[in-house]
């Protein structure tokens, strides 16, 4: 299977090493293996694979992760550009 990769350096995912307690929940919920836990801290090992779903942020008990999460769908972005509070998919 050819690896599917989207645009590079576009995602807003950030991880605060100071706040991280190393529970590893981010590495469990991430569907693209973005996080690994090394030396008791979460590390973004594959940040470009992030799809900004927000699972890691929502499940981080120490609030160490931030990302502008949302559905990357065309209609949603058009609604956003037009300032409409419309549905996505």
């Amino acid at each position: 299977m050819v690896a599917l990769r989207y645009l590079e350096d576009v995602v807003t995912l950030e991880c605060d090493r100071e706040k991280c307690i190393g529970c590893g929940m981010c590495s469990v919920v991430c569907p693209h293996g973005v996080f690994v836990v090394a030396e008791g801290k979460a590390v973004m090992a594959a940040r470009n694979l992030c799809m900004e779903c927000g699972a890691c942020m929502r499940n981080c008990p120490s609030g160490a992760i931030s990302v502008e999460a949302g559905e990357g769908c065309v209609r949603g972005v058009i609604n956003e550009l037009l300032g409409i509070d419309g549905p996505c998919c």
């Binding site: 590079e8 499940n59 502008e68 996505c88 998919c89």
Partner: protein, 378 residues
């Protein structure tokens, strides 16, 4: 198991919570009057409807239709707790969405097993999309746990939530407010039996979302239907307007000049909604709009460069307009597939759209403009 007392958190509002609807958290069992119910399971809280793990022809017919975007908005099951097989207080609890396709595939996957299925009210949307919207979320799960008195039905205090539901709910909040420990199940439902047999442990592979050919293939019909929704009005317009061109009778003019333009739209739909999804990994480019345009160019060259088309003697102006129409559609519809794909990010899509949409808009306006120019001034 520290089950929450009745009404303990029905009025609780979490940081990201909306107003809790009235009646939320009150004891409620789903109706037994649903096609897939085959009895009840006796529990301390009452008789819980038992779902059949065998799918009927009617179920499968519904699945086929929703894959074609037919009846997809009302393909739901009632939220609440269901039994599967002969579950007891130590049987696993699996949380899912009330999209009937999801629910049906889950009960089919668990055939021969005893389990509880806790269906959340996601308004008929699948787990992943509902989690993105927050309807598959913390408050809904807390409400559903309480409304089903789950703490009195099972004794293990553990619930299995699909990993792709994680964007919507926080495991630590479920633990904090309901006392239930969330175990995230595998990404793919098909891995559930192995996961359950392996003491609810997922392998690293089970945690990764791939997007294989087969999965892209089942999405094609829905994509095509959505492409046609956008394309058919323009195709009809091409026929109608072309009928008035030149001195030919209406029908002949509509056929001669409308048909190829309509075919240009169709070529764009084929390229953007069929070729792009299916050949996604192999089409050059990272942006879906680029992949769509490349697919459009290829499909166009198959459809319009045959000797029979050349023999018709269309002007360069008119045939150029077809190319622009095809490219506009294929790029736009290919880009729309980001919404169904499993590896594109919001900020990536936003960046791609801001760059691609002006080009797509220019292509369709110029395409229609050239076509009209060729018909009346050419």
């Amino acid at each position: 198991m520290n089950a929450p007392a009745n009404g303990a958190f029905s009025k609780m509002i979490l940081p990201m919570a909306k107003e809790v609807p009235s009646g939320a958290g009150e004891f409620h069992l789903p109706s037994a009057d649903q096609s897939f119910i085959c009895g009840t399971v006796a529990t301390p809280v009452g008789r819980i409807p038992r779902a059949d793990s065998e799918l009927t022809r009617k179920d499968l017919r519904g699945h086929y239709l929703v894959r074609w975007n037919i009846g997809r908005d009302h393909f739901t099951v009632e939220p609440g707790l269901y039994g599967l097989g002969h579950p007891g207080s130590d049987s696993p609890v699996l949380v899912t969405a009330n999209y009937k396709l999801t629910f049906d595939l889950l009960r089919q996957t668990l055939v021969g097993r005893d389990a509880w299925i806790l269906v959340l009210d996601t308004k008929g949307i699948n787990v992943w999309c509902a989690a993105g919207k927050g309807t598959f979320g913390t408050e809904e799960l807390l409400d559903r746990i309480q409304a089903s008195r789950l703490g009195e039905v099972v004794n293990h205090g553990k619930i299995i939530v699909p990993q792709l539901g994680a964007p919507g709910l926080a495991a630590f909040e479920i633990k904090k407010y309901a006392g239930f420990r969330v175990v995230y199940g595998p990404v793919q439902m098909s891995d559930l039996p192995v996961f359950l047999d392996n003491n609810c442990r997922a392998t690293a592979e089970m945690r990764i979302k791939e997007f294989p050919f087969k999965e892209r293939l089942v999405l094609v019909p829905v994509e095509v239907m959505q492409g046609l929704q956008q394309g058919v009005p323009l195709m009809l317009l091409f026929f109608l307007v072309a009928g008035f061109a030149g001195n030919d009778p209406f029908l002949r003019a509509a056929l001669v000049h409308g048909l190829p333009a309509a075919f240009a739209v169709l070529a764009g739909i084929v390229a953007g909604n069929i070729v792009t999804p299916l050949l996604l990994p192999w089409i050059p480019g990272k942006a879906f709009s680029v992949k769509g345009a490349i697919a459009g160019l290829v499909v166009f060259s198959f459809v319009f460069t045959g000797s029979d088309v050349r023999a018709m003697g269309y002007s360069l102006l008119e045939s150029s307009s077809w190319l622009l129409v095809t490219l506009a559609f294929s790029s736009r519809l290919g880009m729309a597939f980001t919404g169904a794909s499993t590896f594109t990010s919001l900020n990536g899509v936003r960046k791609e759209m801001l760059r691609a949409m002006p080009a797509q808009f220019a292509a369709i306006v110029m395409g229609i403009g050239l076509w009209a120019t060729a018909l009346w001034l050419g």
